[in-house]
Amino acid sequence: MAGAATIIAIGNASLAALLMATVAALMVVVTAALTSRRCLYEQQQAVQQQSARIAEQQHPLHDYVASVEALGDKLVPVWVSQIESSRSQMESEITNLSNRFSGIVERLGVSINTVSSTSDSSGKSPLMEMLGESERDLTAVTRSLRDISIEKEKMLEGITALLKFTDRLKQMAADVAGIADQTNMLALNAAIEAARAGEAGRGFAVVADEVRKLSMMSKETGSRITETVETIGKAIFNTVDAAQQAAVKEQTTLTGAEESIQNVLDGFRQSSTDLVESSDRLRHENEAIQIDVTESLVSLQFQDRVSQMLSHVRDNIQSLHDEIAKSSATSDTLPAPLNTQTLLANLESSYAMEHEWNVHTGKGNKESAAKTPAAEITFF
């Protein structure tokens, strides 16, 4: 019993110790557990805080991604539209401008041809040729009038010469009258002689009387011839006098006409010369303007070059829009980085002009960019 009691006592003591140990162990465990739980809690708190901080940090990142997407969706199309609008406006206006320039060049060409038809630098203009022809024709007319006047003078000289014949005719008429007087005297003597002869001279007396009558008639005829010749002489004199006065007037008129014609021709020549000179100046000015406008037209080629450069940039900006859309984040994935190298490569491959390469690579400075390159021709 004692032993049992001892055993029990020992057992109790052991149990107690065990219990104590167990309790102690449990307390350690509980304490550890409590400590662990607190740590876990603290760790959870820390994780949550960290998550919150990350979430806070991710918020601007999401905003940034959204802003880039908005840039692609909203801003890039506006850029593309604005560039295309500028390009098409420039193309439209330059086309209008070139149309107007073309019209000016063509109208100047017509104007130059028109001016050339009235004058040319060789002086053989139709106007000057017409002046020369007019001068020749009018000179021929005045020469003809002058020739006619000379012929008239010769005719007048002939008529004046007739006056000398009238004097001779008058003398001849006077001679006839003298002969008639002598005949009359002879007839009278014959009549006297016939009367003396008596009966035998009666027939002769008749003849003598008839001769006397004829002599009287001859005398009267001589008188009429004298009167008629005097009348003719006066008529010739009056005619010659009138013709001479007319000739003087004609000479005066002809000289005046020649002077007037010469004055008109001189005035016309001066006007024509002035007109030809003005036309020459006008033609030269027109030609100079035509050259200037044509060169301006040539300068408008810049539009084609600029239009292509803008098209390349526009297309590349459009590619940026596509690239942004392609790399956008989904609910499951993060946004992919934008492929700038591809965009640059696409832009480079679109270049047509050396100048674009130079600008792209930074080789082209402002001076070379402003300078229009010289045309280059390659024959195959």
Binding site: L297, Q301, D304, A352, M353
Partner: protein, 122 residues
């Protein structure tokens, strides 16, 4: 009657400049705004020379040249490429297609006239 030259370019102002240059030298011109338009306008009439751009909508210049070389009436018509393209690779494409000369814009009228007078059909 003057010789006829066809101008193919999508830029109306460029066509104007080329047309003024050629008309001033006594040539007649036909204008087309791209390769397809040009082919539509090549209806059998005599064309002594063609001046064509390279970069055009609908049908580009290189394809246009290849098509012209297949057309019985026009396969011997000389073609000058007038373009902003200055790369050798492009020039070789043009040469392979059958072009006779390559002029890089912007051009000077006298240079184009010299090239035209050198290549135009009699």
């Amino acid at each position: 009657m003057g010789k006829t030259i066809m101008i193919v370019d999508d830029s109306a102002s460029l066509r104007q400049v080329v047309a003024i240059t050629l008309k001033g030298a006594g040539y007649d011109t036909i204008e087309a705004c791209d390769g397809q338009d040009a082919i539509n306008k090549m209806t059998g009439q005599k064309i002594h020379l063609i001046i064509s751009d390279v970069n055009m909508p609908n049908m580009d210049g290189i394809t246009f040249v290849k098509n012209v070389k297949q057309m019985a009436n026009y396969k011997f018509t000389p073609i000058i490429m007038l373009t902003t393209e200055s790369q050798d690779s492009k020039k070789k494409e043009g040469q392979a297609a059958g072009a006779k000369a390559w002029v890089v814009k912007p051009f000077q009228p006298q240079q184009v006239l010299d090239a035209v007078s050198k290549l135009i059909l009699p």
